[in-house]
Every structure is written in structure tokens, then in C-alpha cells.
Symmetry: C2
Subunit: 359 residues, 2 copies
């Protein structure tokens, strides 16, 4: 069972495959034969996944396979964290015809993507995102990079892989919180671009059961399709890609303030999407019925749907205005105009923004 | 007096302007207005050149102009050497709409090009090469990068600038040796692609006078035209760009061996071109008359035309075979098939290669 998306970008096309048991069954020969392969594996990824992949690759007649395990956190996502990867490539005389494989979450695919973009000015790359968040978010679109001097993702490249494999069996070992982080992005994609996916998610989460493999493949596929469509039309992030920030202006502020410490990215974005939907309602762009539907879906997906009691509104205002100062321009909110459609709203009235966090 | 080349590449077109008094007279407004500008200046570049540029930029209504001076050598051409540049950009909150200007020789333009490629995943760039070698070689073609772990240019990006300015007035402060390094590349371009330029160079250097400004603009222009034509057709270095390595297989070996220590890159390439031409003659691809013409031009340009007395042939053979081992494949020589035309010759008979250095 697998589904395929062909992502077209000005700098090259590539296939995204979504399915179960993909790593064990995919025929890598066309990409792997007679080549030097380096797998860069996130230490969080279970070894069985690596072994499954390694067997598949070995059956495809590579010249050699090396594996490098890396620790991934916001600190190793840095020049220092890249050095060991470049060292392995250089020490083993990997040439321009080599192939890198990123096996891990979003930090791994971001780092490996940047290494692939810059080693010998660009070598081939397969991305194998192993978390739900990285599958539906980081692994499509070619944004790669690292953090520098306290800023996030401020050094990197737009660089497209040759293939992305999303094997939902990789998701079985995820924590509940890591899983819902991914669900938050899937909900986001439905809200900004696909009413049918929204309805599908409502049905799935109202059942209150574990997601079936079929459901999971389907929603990862449809979510990836939206991301692929948006980035295909805006590779270098000059237009519609901004819509992918729905819920994130709030979300970043929520993540930055102390009273919400412990909120994961997905939780912050989940709550941020409710606020952004509320703002859309206050701006009369969606109905109260639509707003309720959105709140209910986010709640039934297990994401926070209420502002916590210890929330400090002054912290929030400060975080928002800091963002504003850093950007040195207007605050941009992505707002909905109905379910499945979004637009940019620049500098909405401040009182409405404040009101929007009163849920 | 200025000449213009439009370089077309799949990732964007840009103009290369060649002339005198360009920095003081160019109207930067279309690129500079309302933008944050960082000039990264090689410490070897005289301050008057910087000041001329700064005045022109200031007249074009920039938002702000910062200047960072860097030391350039094969050691600072590294991750460590990039850090101060990224720090200035980050500390001054330069955004995606900023503009970087590389002002210096090939190391500067290589480093600044890579920073421009990767800061915020790519910002705009003007290259102002200030040495003859960087004008006719490094500044066209979008190859950027740094050295890592003892290997040269093994990390970087293909990244095209928005504009390249070649002001021959920048060349007035060059040492004789730096100047002839550039002349060697111009001769190379004539040999592989332009018989008329070869004849022009013969005329210029037979006069035994200082080059006039007109002559200099003309040969920089024609040489750049050849480089631009080749890289336009082969942005990512998969085909004809290899012809630009004419003389370099020998040259790299000459640079690597102790008995020729002190040879500059241009001197090594000059001598390498004589050997490669000799090889072409031995392979019956050019006539003895053509070979003599080439030797005479290289000699009259002030480049070495004879193997020095202390040359150790065993060192040379070892350096060549080391290259061969590193490449893990056949040794590639670029050979001529007449004046102004070149081709790739893989693994020519070893005895001919040895004979070719007997001048």
C-alpha cells in the first residue's frame, strides 16, 4: 500500500512515496547502484528501522554504505553539528556522484539537506522523515538549514532531494506528543487548503479510535499533497508559502512565553490555530459555526483548545511585539476565509488580536 | 568606456560589466535603494577603492551600509572564516532583502558567494573582483565555496550574483606576479575557445609595452565572454566546463611538488599549458608551428616557458599518480585540436605524458 506524489520545482522534480513497509520493499537500485552511500541517522530512530533500510540498500548494489549517527537538538543543529558529517564524507573521499540519506526527524532532514546542498556544491539526497511532523512538514519543500547565533534556520539552502520516503511504520515508536505535533500540521493544511481533508479529519477523530494504517497513509498523503502543491508554486518562498504559517504567529509567541513553558511546537500551533481562527471570525471572515468546528477538531485530536489558566497576557503582548521589532515591519497573520482557504492579513487591529486569545 | 556581458543560467541571468572608473560611475540605485548593504572587503584591497565604492552606493539611497574587512588566505577560506560574516549579518538583523557585496580577489568572492547562497537560504549578491585572476576566472560562473579538512573548495554552492563589476582600475595596485596569474587564465581561454583572442594577445605582448587600458578592457572582456559562454551552457559543471581545466592537470602537479616551490598558480598553469600543448602536439592534434606560437606567447607574457633546472621528475610522477588515486579514476587531460579549440583526452599513454614535460 503506497501513494505517490510528483513534486515539480524549477530546480528539479522528485517523487514523494507514502506507505507502510516502504523501507523494506522499495527498489533503490536506480538511485543506489555503484554509488557511495552515507546514511545520516538520528540517534532517536530505532536501530531496526536502520537495519531494514540497510538491507534494502545492500540489495541494490551500492559501492559502499556508511552510517553516521547524530544527536539532534536545536544546539547540534549548527555548524558544529555539521562538521562530523562533512568529515565522514571528506575522510572517505566521497565524490560528487555520492548519495546522502537523511533518516530522522525534521532536524535531521534539515541538517542533512544542507550538507547535501553544499558538499562539493551539491550531491544527491534521499530524505526519509521518521516523525509525523517531519513527514508532513519539513521533508517537502527543500528548505534546509541550521541555527546560528541564537536565530533559527537562518543559514541554509533551498535544495531538493531526489526522493522522499514516508514510511508510516517509522511512526509506531513515536511518543503521543510527537505524534500530535504532526497532527497539528495536518489540520493546518486542511484549514488553509482542503475542506474535504478537514471533513475527513473530523470523521477520523470523532471515532475516538486509534488511527488505522489506511487512515494514516491517507491523511499523510493528502496533507503532503497540499504542501507539495504550495511549494511547487513557490519554491523560494516569495508568495503562497506564507499561508503555511497559519497559526504560527500566535504559536511562536506561545512558545516564547514562560507561562506556557512545556508546550510542544504542535501544541503551540494547535492553540495558535484556534486563535487565528477566532481572529478570522472576529474579522467576519468565517462563521461562528465554522469556528466551533475548528475548535472541536483540534480538541478531538488531543491538542490544547483553551488558553491555560496560568497564561500571562502581558508576556504574550511582549512576545508579539518582540517579533514585530525583529521583523522590523508589520505583523503578518494568516487568516481563514472559510474552511479550506486562507489569506494574509497584515497588521489587524490590535484590540481584535487581543480579543482573539480570549477563547 | 565599458563593455557588458549578459550571462544566462537556468537559475537566473545577470550582467557582467567590464570597464575603467566603473565603481565611481555605476548607478547602483536599482540594486541598492532602501536595502541593507554589507560590503565584505579583502584587507588587501586599497581603502581608496572601498571609498570610491562607498560614495557610489551612498548616492543610491541604501537603507544602511556596513563594511566588514576580512583577511583572505587558504586558511581563512573555511567555516571559521565565514563566521564573522554571518555574525555581522545576524547581529545587524539583515533580512532576506539585504544585499551583499564581495570586494576582493578570488578567495573573497568565493567566500562571500557562499555566504550569500546560505544566509537566510539565499540573498542578493554583487561581485566586485579586484584581481585580474578573479575577474577572468572566479567571478563568473557562480562557483562559491570554502576549504574543509585539507581539501580545496569541497564545501560550497553554485550561486549566481545579480551583477559583476570588473573595474580595471582595481588592477593598478596588483603585483607583477598577481597580474601574470590573471594573464595565464586569459591565454588559456584563448587557447581553448578563441583563435582571434590568441592572435590579439600575440600582438599585444609582442609590443613589449605596458598594456593600455583599452587593451586591458578588451582582453578581460573577451576572456570573460568565453568563460560566460562556457558556464552558461554548463552551470553545474557536468560537461564543457571541464575544458577550463586546460593546463591544470599539469599545473596542480607543479604546484604540489617541492622542487617548484614558490611557483604561483598562474606560473604553474602557464607552464602546464605549455606541457598540455606539447602533449597535444605529441598526440598529433596540433602542428609544431602552433606549439611554437603557444610557447612564444606564454614566454612573451612573462610566464615560465621552460622546466626549471631543479625540477624533479619523480616528484612530478608521484604528484600525478596521487591525483589519479584521489580521483579514483582516469587522469583527464584537456588537449588542443588546433588554436582555439579543446577536447578531453582520458588517460593518454604514460610515455607521452612524460615526454610532454621535456620541453
Amino acid at each position: 500500500m503506497s501513494k505517490s506524489i510528483n513534486v515539480r520545482t524549477p530546480s528539479g522534480d522528485y517523487e514523494v512515496l507514502i506507505g507502510s513497509k516502504l523501507l523494506g520493499s522499495y527498489n533503490f537500485k536506480w538511485l543506489v547502484q555503484n554509488r557511495q552511500i552515507l546514511i545520516i541517522k538520528d540517534s532517536m530512530v530505532p536501530n531496526e528501522i536502520l537495519e531494514t533500510l540497510r538491507i534494502s540498500l545492500s540489495n541494490s548494489q551500492p559501492m559502499e554504505i556508511k552510517v553516521l549517527e547524530i544527536e539532534t537538538n536545536e544546539k547540534t543543529k549548527s555548524f558544529e553539528g555539521l562538521i562530523p558529517i562533512f568529515e565522514v564524507l571528506n575522510a572517505n573521499k566521497f565524490n560528487r556522484d555520492c548519495l546522502l540519506i537523511g533518516l530522522g526527524g525534521g532536524i535531521t532532514t534539515d541538517m542533512v539537506g544542507f550538507v547535501a546542498a553544499s558538499y562539493l556544491r551539491g550531491v544527491d539526497l534521499i530524505q526519509i522523515p521518521t516523525t509525523l511532523l517531519s513527514q508532513v512538514d519539513a521533508a517537502i519543500g527543500g528548505k534546509t538549514g541550521i541555527n546560528f547565533a541564537g536565530s533559527k534556520n537562518n543559514i541554509g539552502a533551498f535544495y531538493q532531494p531526489k526522493l522522499v520516503l514516508m514510511d508510516i511504520d517509522c511512526l509506531k515508536s513515536l511518543s503521543k506528543s510527537d505524534f500530535t505535533d504532526g497532527i497539528a500540521e495536518i489540520i493546518k493544511h486542511s484549514l488553509i487548503a482542503d475542506k474535504n481533508l478537514f471533513t475527513k479529519l473530523e470523521n477520523i477523530f470523532s471515532k475516538n479510535n486509534e488511527l488505522s494504517d489506511e487512515d494514516l497513509v491517507q491523511i499523510v498523503y493528502e496533507s503532503s499533497l497540499i504542501k507539495a502543491f504550495i511549494v511547487s508554486n513557490d519554491e523560494k518562498e516569495k508568495g503562497d508559502r506564507a499561508l503555511l504559517n497559519f497559526g504560527h504567529t500566535y504559536g511562536h509567541a506561545f512558545e516564547a512565553i514562560q507561562s506556557l513553558e512545556g508546550f510542544s511546537h504542535g501544541q503551540a500551533v494547535g492553540l495558535g490555530m484556534i486563535c487565528a481562527s477566532h481572529l478570522s471570525f472576529l474579522l467576519k471572515k468565517i462563521s461562528s459555526d465554522e469556528f466551533e468546528k475548528i475548535k472541536n477538531l483540534i480538541k478531538s485530536a488531543g491538542l490544547p483548545h483553551e488558553i491555560p489558566e496560568n497564561f500571562d497576557v502581558n508576556d504574550f503582548i511582549e512576545a508579539m511585539s518582540r517579533d514585530k521589532k525583529i521583523l522590523d515591519k508589520k505583523l503578518r497573520f494568516i487568516t481563514l476565509r472559510g474552511l479550506g482557504s486562507a489569506e494574509i492579513t497584515e497588521d489587524p487591529p490590535e484590540d481584535l488580536v487581543l480579543k482573539s486569545i480570549n477563547l
